[in-house]
Structure formats: C-alpha cells, structure tokens
Symmetry: D3
Subunit: 242 residues, 6 copies
C-alpha cells in the first residue's frame, strides 16, 4: 500500500523558469531513460522475484524512483509556471503551450511513454542486469541535463538525482554479486554448448582489432568466417563438425 | 557494406511443423528480446563508439545477430510451411493464417516491433551495460522456448542460439572490464555527491531485509525515512543538513 | 514523497490459480482502462491544478489507485503462481509462459501500456471530466471481470475495486459541481457563438429520432443539412447568414 | 453509407499562410484531442449502442466531426500552401518541409495518430462520459489555438469549431440525463459494497483539505490511513472489520 | 462536408454469429490492411493533390472506403451480437468479451490502429503507388477471410468488398497511366545518376538467379560486389571510377 | 548469413557538419520512408516468396538497403560529430544533444521506428506492389533532402541513394511484369463479381471530373449514388438488382 507526503524528496527551488529547458526535463519524466521507466520496471519485477531480500530491495528503490518522478515533475512545473504570462516564454516551447503547463507523460520530443521501454521477466539475474542498464541510461541523461542547466537550484537537484542512480547501480551490483552473477556471463538452467567460446570476426577491413573480448585462451577467434563457410560449406564448430 | 550468403549460420531442419510454436518463436524475431533488437542496438551503438576495438566488437556481434535473425526466421518459415494445406494446422495460429506464412516483424502477441526496445546513446559504458541486459533478456526467452520445444531440430538450433547469447555476454563483460566498469557503479564526468551511500528503506513491513546491497560500511541504512521526514521536515543527508 | 507498506489495501486470497483469467486481469494492470492509467492521470493532473483542495483530492485518489494497481498485480501473481509446474496450466496462457509469471505492463492482448491512454492538461474542468470518463471505463471492465470470475477470493477483491471506482466518480462529480460544471457544458474563457444550439441531423434514414438532446427550445434541429447546403450554398446559421 | 459534398461545413479563408501555426493545428487533425479522435470514437460507439435515439445522436455528431476534420485539414492546407516557394517559410516548420504540404495524420510533435486515444465499449453510460471528456479536451485545445491565432479567417473558423464542441457537450449531457446518469455516479448491474462512501486521505502534509468531495455525511473521511493500517493491520471498512 | 444514410453500401445478413470470426474481421476494421487505412490515406492525400481530376478520384474512393468500414463494422456487430448470452460463445473470443460487442479500432490481435500504416505525402505519383499497394494488402486479407468464412451472407459481402478493391486498383492504375508513370520507374525533378542500371548481386550461393529484373541490356549485373570491393577498394560505378 | 566490410557502399565526406540537417536525415534512418523500412520489408518478404528468382531479387536489394542504412548513419555521424564542442551547434538540434551523437532509430521528429511501416505478406504480387510504394516514398524524401542540402559531399551521396531507389523500382516493375501484374489490377484466386467496373461518384460539387479512371467503356459511372439509394433503397449493381 502506498502513502504520500507533500514534502519532496529533495527541495526544488527554481529562480528562473525556462520552458525550453523544461522540455528537456520531460525526457526524465515521460522518456525512455526517465524515472517512470525505472520505478515501474523495478516495481513490476518485485512481483515475481523469488528472493525476499532482493524483492525488498526492488521495492525500496522503486518507491524512491516514484519520489524522483515527483521531483522531476516539480522541476517541470516550476520551469513552465509562467508560460501563460506572455508570448516570448511560450515560444520557447510550443509543446507546453499546446498541452498546458506542468509535466506530461511524454518525452522531450512529445512521444508518449510506453511500457516497451521496460525490460523484465522470468529471472532475477535478467532483471538485475536490466536494472543496471536502466540506471546507466538515466545517469547518462542526467549528465547531459546537468551540462545544459544554468539555474543553480535545478543543477543541485539534478546532481542529487544523478548521484542516486549511481547509488542504485551499486545496490544492484551487490545483489547480482550475492548471486554470483556480476562477472559470470551464464545463468539459468541451460548449459551452453561447445561454441560458447567462439568469436566470429564478421565485420572486416583487413585490420583485426583484438582485445580481452576476443583473445585466447578465453576465446577462439575465427578471423574470416566467410572463407570458412565457402571452404567447408558451414561454420567451424557448428553442426556435425563442431 | 553488407554481404550475404544463402547458407544459414546454423542448419535448420524441422521435421514436424507446428504453427502455434512458430508463433512463440516470433518473440525472438520481432519481439522485445529478439534478434532484431540485439542486432540493431549494437549496430547503432557502433556509430558513436569512440573506442576502435569496442566499435569493431559491436559490429562483429551485430552482424552475427542479423544472421541469428535469419535463422529464427527460417525456423518460423519451416514451422508454418503447411498452414495452407488444411484447416487444423491453420487453427493452431490465427496470426499466421491472416498474415501469411513465414516470419513477420511482430511478437507472439502480434505487436509490431518498435525501436523503443532499444537502449543506447552517448557513452560506451552505458551502451555495454544495456547490451548485457539485452543478452540476458534474449537468453531468458530462449530457455523458455527450449523448454516448450518438442522438435529435435528446433531444440538443437535454439540451444546454439542461447549459447551464443552467453558468448556475447562474456565479450561485453570483458569489454566493460577493460574500461574498469564491470564492477564499478560510477562512470562519466560527474562525481556523485555525499548521498551516494544512503539506502532508504521506503517499503516497510516491520521486518528489515538486510543484505550486501544495504549493509554497513558500504551503505548507510535509513530504516524509516518517513519518520525522519516528519521529525526533521526533510530527509537526512539531503539539503542543508547533509 | 512516497512511502510503501507491504500490507495490501485489500487482502488477496486466491484458492484456484487460473492463468487464463490472469490474462484478463492484465487489462486492469497494463491496459487502457486499468489502474496505472487512472493513477498516473490524476497524479499528472495534480501538478498543474490551480485549486489546492482539488489538487489534494487528485493526489489522494492517485495514491489509492497505485495501491489498487498493486492489488491487481498481486491477483495476477497468485493466478500465475503455478505456471511452471506443468504444461496444462501453461497452455492456458502462452502470454505468461513466454513472459514469466506475475504482472507485466501489457493488456490482455499483450499490448504495451502507453501514455496515449491518458487525458489531461490545461484546465481543471477538462481534467475532472476526463477522470469521470476514466472511472467509467475502469468500472465497466471490473463488471466484466467480475462476471467471468469463479474464484470467490478474486470476486471479493474485484467487487471492492469496482466499488472504489464509483466512490471516486462521486468525488470527482462533487468537485465538478463545486466549480459549477457538472451540468453546465461550457467552461473556459471563450464564449460560444450563436451556433451553439444547432443540432444537425447528418445521418438520415427518413425517421428522425428526437430526444432531449435535440429538442426545442434547447436546440434548433436542422432535419436535412444536405438540402440546406444545396439550396443555400452553405449551412444555415453559419457565415453571413447565421 | 457516406456521401460527401465539396462545400466545407464552414468556409475557410486564410489571408496569411503560417506553416508554424499549421503545425499547431495538426493537434486537432491527427492529435489526441482532435477531430479524428472524436469522430471515430462516437462512430464506433454507435455500433453497440442499444438505444436507438442515442445511436442516432452518436452518428449525427460523428458525421459532423468528420466534416470538422475536413475543415481543420483545409486550414492546414492553406497555411502550408506556400512552403515550397522559399526557404524562410520552410524553416518555420521542418515537419511540413519533410512530409509535404497539407494535413497529415500526426500531431504537432509528429506523433502518429493512434486508436489508443479512443475510449469506448460495452455500456452507453461509459461511452457518453467518455464523449464529454473528449469534447472537453477538444475545447481546451481550440481555446489555446485561438489564443495563438493571428489570422482573422482562422480565428473565425476556430471559434465556430470550439462552439460546436460545447454544443456536442450539451447534447451528450442531455443524453446522460435522460438515462439518469448525469449526476449519479453508479451505473451498470453491480451494486457497490459498503466502502463506497470512504475517503482515504493518502497524501498528507498535516493540513487536511476538506471540500464537498470528502465531507460528511456523504463521505466518511479517513484522515490517516497509514496509522489505521499500523494499528489494525488493515484499513477500516475493508475485510472482516468493515 | 459529409452526409450519411443508414442504408449500408451492401446489405449485411449474418445467419450464424461467430465471435472468433468477428475477431478476424477486425483486421479489416482497425488493422493495417483495413478500410480505415485505405479511407484515411486517400482522404489525406486529396488535400495536397495538385490535379483536380485525381483529387476528385481520391475523394470518391475515400468516401466509398468509409462506407466499406461501416459494412465491416456491421459484420462484426452481427457476429458478436450474442456474446452476452452465454459462456461458450464468449470463450470463442476473449477480446470481445472484455471490450464489449461490436467493432473496435484494433486488429485481430488487439493492437490499436495507428497512422503509421498510412503512406502519403508530397507527390501524386508516390501517393498513387502507395494506393495500389494499399489495395493489394486489402485484397489479400479479403481473400484469406473469404477462405475461412462459412456463413453465406458474410461470404457474399466479402466477395463484394474484395471486388471493389480490384476496381479501385484499376482506377489508380489508370490515373498513374494518365501521368505516364504506371510503367516508368522515375518521377519527380531529380534525374538519376549513371548507376541507375546497376544490379548488385549481394546475396550469393554460387547459383545466380537471372531474370528480366537483372538482365542485359536493361541492367548491368555485378555478380560478386564483394570481390569488386576487395580488388578496387570501392564498388565499380561509384565514386571516381564510375 | 551476413558478412560486413568496413568500406561504405558509397564514400561519405562531410565538410561542414550541420546537426539540424542531421535531424532531417533521421527520416531515412529510423523514419517511415527510410532504409530500415525498405531493407526489412524486402528481407521479410523473401522468407515466404515462392519464386526462387524473385526471392533472390528481394534478398539482393534488401542487403543493399542495409548498406544504404549504414551510409545514411555515417552521414548523420559526420553531421553530428562536433555537437559536444560547443553550445551553438548543440542548439541546432536538441534531439541529438539529449540522445548523443550519431544515428538513432527515430525519425526527424523523435518518433521510434515501428514495424507498422512495413507492408508484406501472403502473396508475391501484393509484396512487389508494396515495394514499389516503399521506393516511391524513399525517393520522395531523398528529393526533399537533396533540395535542402548545402554540403556538396552530402548532396553527392544523396543523389546516389535516390538513384538506387529508382533502380530498385525498375527491378520490382520488371518482376511484376514477369508475373503479368504490372498493369493488370486483379491477382490471386478470387474472381471479382460484376460490380468491378462501377465508379461511384460519392464526393459531389455539381461538376463531375471525368478521366481515364472513370470513363466508359472501362467503367460504369454512377453520377449520384445517393439519389440511386433514395430511389431504389440500395445501390444499382449490388444485391438482387445487380
């Protein structure tokens, strides 16, 4: 059951409203990398999470994200509070002029939020990996928003929100680590077959780029899969010849 | 520039066509966790990737995913090859009856593929974390598909595709590790503020669930944030009092 | 700021899990008429609501709807709790088989929730009318779900949720009435022109259906607008001749 | 069966084409609150409406909305008629430059119209409430468009269209009233349970906002539901203790 | 301006209602290949069509398609008219059970109609080619629906609707022919460069498939573009060497 | 199976990066008329194409379109390569500022690519007609982009891409012609009924526009269908009286 208090998670004080900047902020309200995506993703995951401790973690963070959504909404409300007062401010953002002041569940381009942004289902490892990815997207957008912000109060709030995304990432990493899956690729009930160490170099320009992600002995590097196919009729390591 | 050969990356041999099962397979052709999502995500990321080696990695895997998409498409083609021959098979999947045999860019529920499934942009760490999440979703779906498969040829192909998702995960983890970001939460140019270690226990039931994700000394646990707000007017560690 | 307690707003007790029924319930979790639509609509409206009392009303009900969302999610979790135990249950709902147990942010047909379902912006009267419409859609779906339910615990919960939609409707009607807009069509700053009382009978079959919605003296009934156009070159009451 | 005459429902005369303004007008052509939404919503409702008179009402208004759609389309055609003549006009709206002149089925932000905007199904009361909400959204947008219009001919047409939305609202209110449902919250076949009069104050700040929407004797006000839950383990009026 | 008469364009008489079949019919009501797509596409095109005769053609057919939409809607209404009478019929289509009887603006899978289905803009040749494609999709779906129909009245109506799509195709072909563009690939103001006759054989299996679409003298066949790139560093006919 | 080489299909050399122009180019990367739409449409069609030669044609062109997609992506990468260097360039395109440099799978308005853009299924004639329409849309957009381009390198590449769309159109026309369906409206297994030659003049203004698309003896012109209905109760040529 949810409860709400009017106090914001972090105080919002906007000295100079800027509707064009408010439009940017929509990305974190109704956009792909925004707080609604994060909050709903973790919340929905919590229903099928079999681990009590991690279920609690997902709910604690989900609830915090809803409070972040409120903070971003308040920032947008403040940055659009004067849009009816005169044309110049209005012109800065036709989006708000047409839809009215305050936040809407759209991104900066006016695209409706969709649950297609959410990545979840079936396995706690999959869910936690999706959560680390969601946090990375949110942090990236906050850095860009911070970079463009000029209002000091706005910057302070965004810095706090960015910080919390890192905090959440750390929590999700700890949870994955507790399952032994932070640095272990495989999970679930199916054992990979013998092709799991093959690296196919499918995109060529004559200069092989080698790195820890395709080096022996971890990986078996196939430098020219096309040649292999043309010579053998199929790829080495697959089918009868593997 | 792309080139194509008619040989499949892994041979497909379906003994007993099953249109209802083909409908399931659509999830990996035109669904959220499917090969198109993976291939296009890595491909799009490669354009803005500043590291030559990782850019090459993204392209190698993207091209492989397009070949996986083709394999899944071929599986669907085979499982629907008889749908015009008689009513009983048709009834197993009204979706294919109406849209025709072979793969379509929809998921098992008939929902069109959308680029909203894709997570990318601006930072290679963010992109690689998104890629590990994408692979986790793909692997999860392949395990479910394997679990429901009865045709031996289909199972063999799906096992191979599942294996490759693990292989890709390993590659992405190695790439993240080479950047020092596999186990380090923070990235980018903004340093977190002093609230980065706070854990807010927002979802209560009297029994605190503690684990590595909210324990001292890594984290500062706030057991009852609401009480804190009511007593202090704001949350500890935020604003003037932090 | 949001807080959460593990207790549900209404206890959920499902004796006989039914995945096919759970799929129906998705309509109220991630569907057009569901609790997420209602909760987010009222919440977003509250940011731009200029009336303190109604802003508070919107927030009180929004928070309640989030708790309803949780209850519906719990129902779905319970009805899908056994889907991995055997094929027969699985077959009842391929949707859950593929996406995993528990709720997802999709409707019963597998379509992602979209903010296009939300109706809000700019004026409190417009918002409240949209809210009464949202409640009507939710109530309609709950009646259908109740009609199809067989599990007694499920029925009890749905009856409660349906009841609350009526309670909310009453609250919204009272709020509209306090603004003098429950039975008064016009609102806002623009006065209608002299065509406001015209009823055009555009869809003909020779038998005019008359009722309070097109009767004198409230309305001026134009029985055959096409004839009017052909005789006068334009519609009576519009342009120079109005 | 439909018929069409080239005469517009209201004459359109645009003296000074303004592509940027045309982009705004798209909101009423292919946007959420536009004429297509209204026309299709009423039309689709008419198929399942069991009351002959109201079915006719829905069709009469639906046909009128299609004619409004045509008028808005003509306004857009006129405001974009010169976009190929020179760069400056083009720059005012990249949207039309890329898609060509005249109306398109998108909103001002370029988002495709979707039937997710439509609210209908199953019950005439639900449908009529949705229609009053649709009209409120349309009227709100027309007021904003009027406020920003500078061309006299455009203003005259928009004033007419806004007026007609009020006229339709009045008709829908009369129809609801004829069913006894304009001021009565409940409808359908399910009687609410005993919690129908409870008002939960879920969003707190120490200062209860009271109004006709939460006052005795109509409503039973629960000032602190969280305290109730913590003391009783559940909410008053629900479950065994109701 | 639109007018409507209650008579259908073709009489509908359904002897044996079949909700599952009605669900199929949704594809032509709110689906990609349906009458709404066709009607709106031609209608929107008519606004920017510079040729008076073809503009009239587009409007004549658009209006007919709206009447076809009505006919399909009536078929769906009839096939779902008994869904409240008993469980067995309901079970045939959960979609209608949840959304109510009669047509909805969704396809057979429950996906909302979207204007993304529409192809139009900027040039009459492009528009007419899109229209021939739209008709081909509609005809294809009608053939499938006819093939699955068992009710004689339904079959008769579908045969008529399929016939009309062919009639429209003929009209669009005649219009394209009148512009000299039915068999001439190029249109518009830009002359193609010298690569217009090159055929690249990008998808190889050692057995070149030759036909009128890649034969000399119309086309210059490049049998192995990859080899060309590897030998010359770029493709023949492009860049300095073309 | 796919292979890739780093060489582009056509060299890209952008002298003066222009982020606002890059935003336009997105229409051909992730927009309705773009290369992804074309490539995926032909590719998906190839799976169910029963004619070996045309299947090969579809694959050859599909692979080429993927290489075009890469070229457009490279153009966007080049035009956004300096967006982090300073505010003025950034301001030219907020879209890239927020999402990062390089291409994204959205159109110029920020709308996600959707498979709803794709038209395919069931019949090779339908597919080829859809392909000619897809090429017409792509060509139209390239002409507009060319018209707005100022960078010489960009223009050269766009001219090449436009040329190739015409080349593909010619190939698809040849393929249709080989099936006897380039100028023949009907296809498939159902013979049209006797109404196939009727032209209904549904959109009237007193001045009939006649042309090859509605002239005798090819067509039977019904000048006033409404009058026919009112006199006969149904349309001539339909039902018992046809």
């Amino acid at each position: 059951m949810f409860f709400h208090r009017k106090e914001l998670m972090v105080p919002v004080d906007v000295k100079k409203p800027d509707p064009a900047y408010a439009q940017f902020l929509l990305q974190q309200f109704g956009g792909a990398t925004g707080e609604l995506t994060a909050g709903l993703q973790y919340w929905v995951q919590s229903f099928h999470c079999p681990k009590v401790g991690i279920r609690d973690l997902l709910q604690d963070i989900a609830v915090e994200e809803f409070s972040h959504l409120e903070v971003v909404g308040k920032l947008i409300e403040e940055h659009t509070r004067e849009i009816t007062k005169g044309a110049p401010e209005v012109e800065q953002s036709p989006l708000f002029a047409l839809r009215g002041k305050g936040p809407h569940l759209i991104d900066d381009a006016g695209v409706n939020w969709t649950a297609a942004y959410i990545n979840e289902g079936g396995d706690v490892v999959r869910d936690l990996r999706a959560d680390i990815a969601a946090e990375a997207g949110a942090r990236e957008t906050y850095e860009i928003l911070l970079d463009r912000a000029t209002d000091p109060g706005t910057k302070k709030v965004l810095h706090y929100l960015l910080t919390r995304e890192i905090a959440h990432t750390k929590m999700f990493m700890k949870a994955l680590e507790s399952l032994g899956k932070l640095t272990e690729p495989a999970f679930g009930n199916v054992k990979p077959d013998e092709t799991v160490n093959i690296y196919y170099h499918f995109s060529a320009n004559g200069a092989a780029q080698r790195g820890p992600w395709n080096q022996e002995p971890e990986f078996r590097y196939i430098p020219d899969p096309e040649k292999t196919v043309m010579e053998h009729g199929e790829l080495v390591g697959v089918g009868g010849k593997r």
